[in-house]
Symmetry: C2
């Protein structure tokens, strides 16, 4: 025993170095963020939701934290830079460490594909809100799977939530929700940041959502030689082709997915909300449920002073002039947005226009900005209304 | 159409910004690394396997790339820092961007949990080697699943490869390989860096491996209040408890796993090789196949000048004195190591000792150091020998 202990001392030291542990005393009541790399004390969250950050950088001239605004860190004599932010709003926030002007991810935190790179993020807990906390209920699986896309000419990854019981009840088939990430994100968004599996597991356990498959594709679809992105007609057409010619056939061939519009929903956030809007409402014979979360499609980020209004009738022929035909085909057209998201004003205005032309729209808003906490709540709300 | 194009111009610009695209002309024959964030030209790999890096950092005093050795980058008048490295050996290499002395991940690359943080990495292709390249063969799934561990008192994630056909042949059950990551890594290692699913898909398609489930747990197992890591007796005991009392029961309850030693293999790399060695060889009634890849257990990183030799007989009572009883129970005891890994010398010496005491050991080595390319090849080799 003694011999082994002696032998392994260097190994332990090596592992502790690897763990990069900061042996700080953190204040009473403070908690290391759930988004930290294991065993890191920093960043930690104070009871009033201020967040303390720390990094060792003796040779840097300026170190900052960009968490919704820029915070200058202060350096001590050991080269440790620290800062405590203002109280943060609950939810999942991408943030950056800024070293002499370069935005990078913080080695202390997990990284998440968002803002077009692997970004640090911090998940600030919301008191009394536990619908996205893992519980002792039956759990589904998140599966990662590759398929070949004829549209992009490449192998692509798709994440698929299969509900609890999928492996046991092998004769049962399930309705399918197709759900899209936002700009600068990919198919990891809803699987990781969105906590889709936990939200659905909890809803299904409570009997509040029907067991369903949730398909989480990569919505960045460029044809070879092209680089169409965002809300362009070309990008929307590429996305539609990817969904109809590649994703849906792959899912319906390989998983026990019910077919037909009544068993298919499409939704998404921000850019993905635009994709759901175009792909869903232009094809109500394929999707009876459409969810648009926090989308700029109705005016949004593209709105310039003096720019023309979003022309819904042009985007979706008949949506204003033949609303009744949409009402007949769609079981649900759902829109949500964050109450602090600048998109809320024109979104509400658009909904008024829809409704004044006779189109049925369900609308909900949640506290928060253009952020994952709003999208988690949107999914939690939307999923309860599906396949009824 | 014109109106929509006008409306969406800012959205497109925004998305391009998000993509953070560097519109460089890259040299003929050079290829952006497969590990880049999509649409990034840098880092790119030249035909002779030199790698070019670039980052914009006008206010930094010193910028370096740490890719097996430190490379100083050169700054141009626009604040872009660039460097081209020496030719790299093929395989998957963790690397860091070093800004004024702070090691961070490179915003241009994907990040991977390794070296105790989310680290950048680059995958240098190996000519003529495609066993870990995705092919048009039937694909299994990588599933991510949570289970509650009574050992750690927490919910933990485990990744599970189910082979092609698992969802179709619902009466069929499969043998199981339990495979462990190294120090500073977690259950993402074999699922992402290791490309376990692709390696197995290809082997199964060629008829070179039997269809099997591969379970990829998190081997960092600390009991509440303790922080045992590495090769200590306590850490090894925790790991064994986690496997026997939590992971195996969870897998055998929830997946169609064949039971009994003849249907179970355990293997791992580096620290995980030590875990496989202890857990497997101390319990040959539970595992008939044991694989130890690049482990420091036989002397390794803990070896200090004058330190005592690794005492195999003490670690695994009977392994030298009653080798025949191990030979009877084990269908395979497999050891591998990289030919440039400093662990190779004492590993070979240990194997000589095993063999001179009558213990059957299969040994293989592969070009490369203490790196994932060796571990991919080890899995590729080991998996073909299992469950025969």
């Amino acid at each position: 025993m003694m011999k082994e202990k002696f032998l392994f001392t260097a190994a332990i030291l090596f592992c502790l170095l690897l763990l990069n542990k900061v042996n700080a005393q953190i204040p009473e009541g403070a908690k290391p963020a759930s988004t930290n790399i294991r065993a890191n004390d920093y960043p930690y969250i104070l009871p009033d939701l201020r967040v303390a950050f720390k990094i060792n950088a003796p040779n840097a001239g300026k170190v900052q934290i960009d968490l919704s605004r820029m915070y200058d860190m202060q350096k001590d004599e050991k080269g440790n830079w620290t800062v405590t932010t203002d109280p943060q709003v609950p939810g999942f926030h991408y943030y950056s460490l800024v070293i002499d002007g370069v935005k990078v991810s913080d080695p202390a935190s997990e990284t998440f594909y968002g803002t077009g790179r692997m970004s640090s993020a911090i998940d600030i807990p919301e008191t009394g809100v536990d619908f996205y906390a893992i519980k002792d209920v039956p759990h589904g699986d998140i599966r990662s799977k590759s398929y070949f896309s004829k549209t992009t000419g490449t192998w692509r990854n798709v994440n698929i939530y299969t509900p609890p019981g999928y492996d046991s009840y092998t004769k049962k088939s399930y309705p399918v929700l197709y759900i899209q990430h936002g700009g600068g994100e990919d198919e990891r968004g809803w699987a990781v940041q969105g906590k889709t599996n936990i939200i659905l597991d909890n809803l299904i356990a409570e009997g509040k959502a029907r067991p369903m498959i949730v398909v989480i594709p990569n919505g960045n679809v460029s044809k070879p030689g092209s680089s169409a992105v965002g809300y362009t007609e070309e990008a929307m057409t590429n996305f539609k082709e990817e969904i109809f010619e590649n994703v849906i056939p792959f899912i319906e061939k390989n998983y026990r997915a019910k077919k037909g519009a009544a068993n298919r929903a499409i939704s998404g956030l921000s850019m993905g909300g635009g994709q759901a809007f175009y792909t869903g409402l232009r094809n109500p014979d394929a999707f009876a449920y459409v969810g648009v979360f926090s989308s700029g499609i109705f005016g949004g980020i593209a709105r310039q002073p003096g720019a023309p209004e979003f022309d819904a009738e042009k985007a979706i022929p008949g949506i204003l002039t033949k609303a009744e035909s949409f009402n007949k085909k769609l079981k649900l057209f759902y829109i949500s947005v964050g109450e602090q998201d600048p998109r809320i004003d024109y979104t509400k205005k658009m909904i008024e226009t829809f409704r004044s032309n006779g189109l049925k729209v369900e609308f909900n808003s949640f506290p928060g900005g253009h952020e994952w906490q709003v999208w988690r709540k949107s999914l939690h709300d939307f999923a309860q209304k599906l396949f009824r």
